[in-house]
Chain length 343, copies 2
């Protein structure tokens, strides 16, 4: 695990804050960058769940910086490190992206991952009761990376053979997963322990690795469950079947900096005279309803296809599912769509 | 009226099209530009109401152009000439913006205004019955500009003294109005005849010029009505009153190319410690709900404030209305917010 991953630990901050909060926003690191660069405009981008904290963070920064510094809050939707507000980034002297770890290092961007201060060990006690085998994979999200090393040790102390790896260059840390990338679970164990809040990440993990048992230890909601992908997989097969009759295909290229796969989109267009290339940043049911298509292929974020699919008026497939629907590949080749590389 | 304004007349197109349509998409002009520039990528942007025509237009262009030309349809929402898909524009060799007249001339952009082929004169016959005075202003939208000269003559033949002007540099044609600019109605007549479909433009016109009678001759829906702003004006006063108690203000800067008013936004921020600058392209209720504010000031498109205001969870004001709500200006200074200049 990188040294950086401990920097955000709440216990390390000595600053007195105007507003109480659960997260360490690493204000000292931001203020230092503002002073170093003599910045006049500072952009602050938060993911959806943390946007309402933005004004308080801006308040604290205003107090710590010169009066002539203007803080701009990004109002663009944000769902990951793939999803930088490039407009704001290009127009500010310092640009801070909160809540995600770096997908690609850049001098232009300060990433503040917002590590959780929740204690994962009580829920791990419960989880190990459902991990019968000696070999276990361990993965978590950026928020819990500050405790990853401790978690590995804790499991080893209990005689587990813990398998971890850094997935690929899209990921910052060893053991880290993203909603679109589970390469850190490509390990030699049939059971994988996921530590983190919610089911979004472990469901993707279980779809990407259907041969493994994925155990969820959720220290936020304090529950242990096994990831169950049945509902999602049924929806995927259903969408593929419904799209098999499609004549007109809308092929979506997502313009978000970390979600573009133009080559895949252009390959589809080149092969299919009834396919149309559509570019957009946010892929929403409203936007697609304007196009008179029978089905869509989404080359952008696979989680929109998988998780939001039923909200769209026409079937939306991943590029792999499209190949099945048009008969290029057999039905049993259906697999979870993942993203690799950066930009 | 400019010579260009007749180019889109449906009767002038001799091309045989794969798809029937009501509009002239000026394919010859687009094909010429593609060939001249040896373009490999061509971007096509349609406003919301015409997006579903995009694939058919792309089909026709594919047939007329070399196989190695890729056509990309913009899936971004589009509500005006102020609202160019700059991402697509910067990544294509030819970029075509349909449905609006040029807000600013540029070699990069081919504007295809899509002139209407509807006959305005039957509804004008009806309208003149409700135009008792000799002096009358005449305005219309880009779609009907191809008949503007004829309409002026038609009214003059009926002994009207017709007042027309080109508003300002934001507008392309004499007599043209935009949803945010009614400078073409700054004329010496107490009655203004608006010719065009829907009530969006004449309601803005009547709010901007409350001293004038605005008669709507709608040749699309075949009705004559007088613009009634009462509902909207009540909503504006209501929003201002509800915002008078606001502590925390979100000040929205719209990042769309033709909707940015950063100076106005920064002035508000500079004066008010409880105001926060928020940047975004689409200003929607969902996006603002993420911010814990008591009220918003929208420095972007005034029609979002005026027409969509009630859909937002907190009062949203124009910059002028904000000055009233915080006590800088008297209540009776309330007026319609307009946009001038380009970018």
């Amino acid at each position: 695990m990188s040294q950086d991953a401990t920097e955000g630990d709440l216990r390390n901050t000595g600053m007195s804050l105007k507003h109480d909060r659960e997260w360490d926003y690493e204000l000292d690191r931001i203020v230092e960058a503002v002073e170093e660069r003599d910045a006049k405009r500072v952009g602050l981008q938060f993911p959806e769940g943390l946007k309402r904290r933005g004004p308080a963070v801006a308040d604290d920064l205003r107090e710590l910086c010169d009066d002539n510094v203007t803080f701009l809050l990004s109002g663009q939707p944000c769902y990951g490190a793939c999803d930088l507000d490039t407009y704001l980034m290009r127009r500010t002297d310092v640009f801070v992206h909160f809540g995600h770890s770096p997908m690609k290092e850049s001098d232009k961007i300060i990433y503040v991952p917002l590590f959780s201060n929740v204690d994962p060990f009580p829920i791990l006690e419960e989880a190990v009761e459902d991990l019968p085998e000696e070999d276990v994979g361990l993965v978590t999200t950026a928020q819990h990376m500050n405790r990853f090393g401790e978690m590995v040790e804790w499991l080893e102390d209990r005689d587990y053979n813990v398998h971890t790896r850094r997935g690929d260059e899209r990921l910052t840390y060893e053991g880290q997963v993203l909603g679109c990338n589970y390469a850190s679970a490509d390990i030699d164990a049939d059971q994988v322990l996921y530590v983190g809040g919610g089911k979004f990440h472990p469901l993707g993990l279980a779809m990407e690795h259907p041969e493994k048992k994925v155990l969820i230890a959720d220290p936020v909601n304090n529950v242990v469950t096994v990831a169950d992908t049945e509902k999602f997989m049924k929806q995927r097969y259903g969408a593929v079947h419904r799209a098999m009759d499609a004549q007109k295909w809308g092929v979506i290229f997502c313009t978000k900096i970390g979600q573009g796969r133009m080559e895949i989109a252009e390959e589809i267009i080149a092969d299919n005279d009834d396919a149309y290339l559509i570019t957009m940043d946010e892929v929403t049911p409203d936007r697609l309803r304007n196009f008179d298509m029978d089905a869509f292929v989404n080359t952008g974020c696979p989680r929109i296809t998988t998780d939001d699919g039923p909200q769209f008026h026409k079937p939306m497939l991943t590029p792999g599912e499209y190949r099945i629907a048009v008969g290029d590949k057999p039905l049993d080749s259906l697999e979870f769509d993942t993203f690799h590389g950066t930009w």
